[in-house]
Amino acid sequence: MTTVPLLDIRDLTVEFATRRGRVRAIDRVSFTVAKGETVGVVGESGSGKSVTSYAVLRILDRAGRIVEGAIRFGGIAVHAATEAAMAELRGREVSMVFQNPRAALNPVRTIGRQIGDVLIEHALATPATAKAEAIAMLKAVRIAEPEARYHAYPFELSGGMCQRVVIAIALACRPQLLIADEPTTGLDVTTQKAVLDLMVELARERGMSTILITHDLGLAAAYCDRIVVMEKGVVVEDAGAIRLFTKPAHPYTRRLLQATPRSGASVRDLLPERRPPPPRPANGRPLLEVHDLVKEFPPRHGAPPFRAVDGISFTVHEGESVGLVGESGCGKSTTSAMIMRLLDPTSGSIRFAGEDIGAIPAARFARAPHRGKLQMVFQDPTDSLNPRWTAFRSIADPLFRLAGMRRSAARLRVEELAHQVGLPAELLDRFPHQLSGGQKARVGIARAIALDPKLLILDEPTAALDVSVQAVVLNLLVDLRAALGMSYLLISHDLNVVGLICDRVMVMRAGGIVEEGETEEVLRHPRAAYTRALLDAIPHPPAPPALQEPAAAVAAQPVAASA
């Protein structure tokens, strides 16, 4: 491009003062954003993608400092600008959409007032005209009944609606550059698609440039013109979206592409090295039989009682891996809590290995004989480990409590488990905050399999992990299942992940199961309209070249850069 870019970042280096001296968060990062261009910044956690965007807005926290390099925005030297000049720039020329829309909105002010505040702050509206302007913005982000919603508080809106309001606030002053930092992480896939479609469309309408920061390459490919890949604070590749997918130049980009789950790939394809496919255990007798399970929450504040789970029935056989898919609020977590006996069902039966465990109250199940055979891997590895306990103590807890082991015996067993899940033994004496996300996930898995469970519920086991770590953990789960003969019930919103490790899948919506069948069959030929909508909303990255072997039929996946 020959014209002067809107944003020009040159050799940007940011350091943070920490307990162990100064740490370089980003090192000589350079890239540009042209007018009207959508640039994706992609990387795993710790790659410095958020720090880069914070530096552009000069909102680094106090420990962070730009030590080198230049940021130029439309002729203004941002790195040297005064705080007063930055205040004028932020919101007016460059604005930002954050990851958690609820945290970004003031909970005690109506959304319309919050939009008006920004306009008044930047002198684009007077208190008299602010209301009309705010309603116009709400209309622009396609919020139904904007006049009525003007008076709504953030807690009255869904996550997707809140993110639309945040976008409305960000776009209210017609900025030239919008920075979106993981804008749809934590939203459902269908909502994600709607929000991003809207954002890109508004940007195009207004000739605005956008920086989309994400960990999801597929997402970046679907919405960005150009992608900047970052690893450990360094830009490793900067290329057009299509080119990046068809001819990735840097080994890290290739690894990232390979680790991203996609349709048609097996769980082994995600790993850098080739490994034999896992043996698929034969299905045995029925292990878990759920019949007409109902959970009703009592009425609150005059609202009618809420049926979270509405009479579902299904069976999981020995050695089988079943997926339970649905969006937030569909009742999948309630279902898993009932099966895990952490929650009492309103009615229906849960039979485990022939015994009606649903009849044992959840409060007394902790010491029930089946407790050790029914275990769970939790969604957030950080949240699921006691912050005051070392990894050893977390893994050993079930051994002490349910197997009655002594310390020395438990130590041996924990070391064996750590070996099984690929956790180096020297990490066992660390606290959770001293472990990486993948290591914490392994601790959680080791604890869950400590008592040789027959059924393991995996509640979004990789949702909080980076893709490369996710690939390793998914393979670990597949191997463990084959080695230990467990059954899995995988709870997930991610159909790609379900496709990788499940034999059978059930799609859940509003407390009921709308579709059930062999995974292949459901993913390829969905019968229910809802399943089709879920599948359509997944952003499809083009297959990486490593897999473009004659039989791979990659042509089936067109590059969706213009979607």
Partner: protein
């Protein structure tokens, strides 16, 4: 299997005891205020333990010939109306004041956090009943309650301790309730249940220790108040009685002499009181950093 770790690899954890000492050193070194607070704290504890052995005069020995002497080399803080050495009395009083406040804080911490944790964990009716009871206690002024207890059960130091403990109980209970409540649905709590821990064990072993860091700050601030309360109560004649050296009484007795120009009688015990309260207030942040595992590396 090798783990691709995207973040910086933390250094290996050392043996627990050694790492606690190193952590202590780090906390003290990184914050000069904490260092000062810990130093003052050591001085106060030293005075409480060794005070009676170190002071130059017997705190109870009267000497009419040397009554009401201003501060001098012989009597650093001067002498009172009975000729007793004020410095010796101030130092010796540390033990009693500290005992009262530590006992009161310990009682309210133990019972307050037990009640609060149960309310926060079980919620519902338990929570509502406990909450209203705590509100009732909070509505009582300390001095009225203390006078009531003393009138009913006798004017002893123990009763003053109980009164102070009851008054402070709601602060601990409320804090424990809030801290436990936000954690009761955390993943690690569910995982603990899956590991075969019953409700009470989950609460005591898993949730409560995680509520400790903010409680530590509360304890430290509360120690300051408790010292102030103990002195205040003895100022109005509850609990401690003359001639026992105690800061509150000394201020009360010395106050009569300020008008006639003998300022040192009230000033020095008052200053000791202020210093003790100040120290405990400063200590809070340092204590929290010490018990928070996430601050360790």
């Amino acid at each position: 299997m090798d783990m691709p770790s995207p973040t910086a690899v933390p250094p290996p954890a050392a043996m627990p005891k050694d790492s606690f000492l190193r952590h202590f050193r780090y906390v003290v070194a990184s914050n000069p205020v904490t260092a000062v607070a810990f130093a003052l704290f050591l001085v106060i504890v030293g005075a409480a333990v060794f005070g009676p052995l170190l002071v130059p005069y017997d705190p109870l020995a009267t000497n009419a010939a040397r009554a009401l002497q201003p501060p001098s080399w012989d009597h650093w803080f001067g002498t009172d109306q009975l000729g007793r050495d004020v410095f010796s009395r101030v130092v010796v009083a540390t033990r009693l004041d500290l005992t009262i406040s530590v006992a009161a804080v310990a009682l309210s911490f133990v019972f307050g956090s037990m009640i609060g944790s149960l309310a926060g964990y079980y919620g519902g009716w338990t929570d509502r009943v406990v909450g209203r009871c705590l509100d009732t206690i909070m509505a009582f002024p300390l001095f009225v309650l203390a006078m009531g207890i003393v009138a009913a059960a006798g004017n002893t130091i123990e009763n003053v301790i109980y009164a102070t403990a009851i008054i402070n109980l709601p602060f601990y209970a409320r804090m424990a309730r809030a801290e436990v409540n936000v954690r009761r649905h955390a993943g690690f709590v569910q995982a603990a249940k899956l590991s075969g821990n019953g409700d009470l064990r989950v609460l005591a072993v898993h949730i409560f220790p995680n509520a400790l860091p903010p409680m530590m700050v509360q304890i430290s601030l509360n120690m300051g108040w408790a010292i102030l309360n103990a002195a205040g109560l003895s100022f109005i004649g509850l609990g401690v009685r003359p001639p026992t050296p105690e800061w509150g009484i000394m201020v009360a007795e010395g106050a009569n002499f300020i008008v006639s120009g003998e300022w040192w009688l009230a000033l020095f015990p008052g200053a000791a009181l202020m210093l003790a309260v100040f120290t405990f207030n400063l200590l809070g942040d340092g204590l929290r950093d010490l018990v928070d595992p996430a601050r360790r590396t």
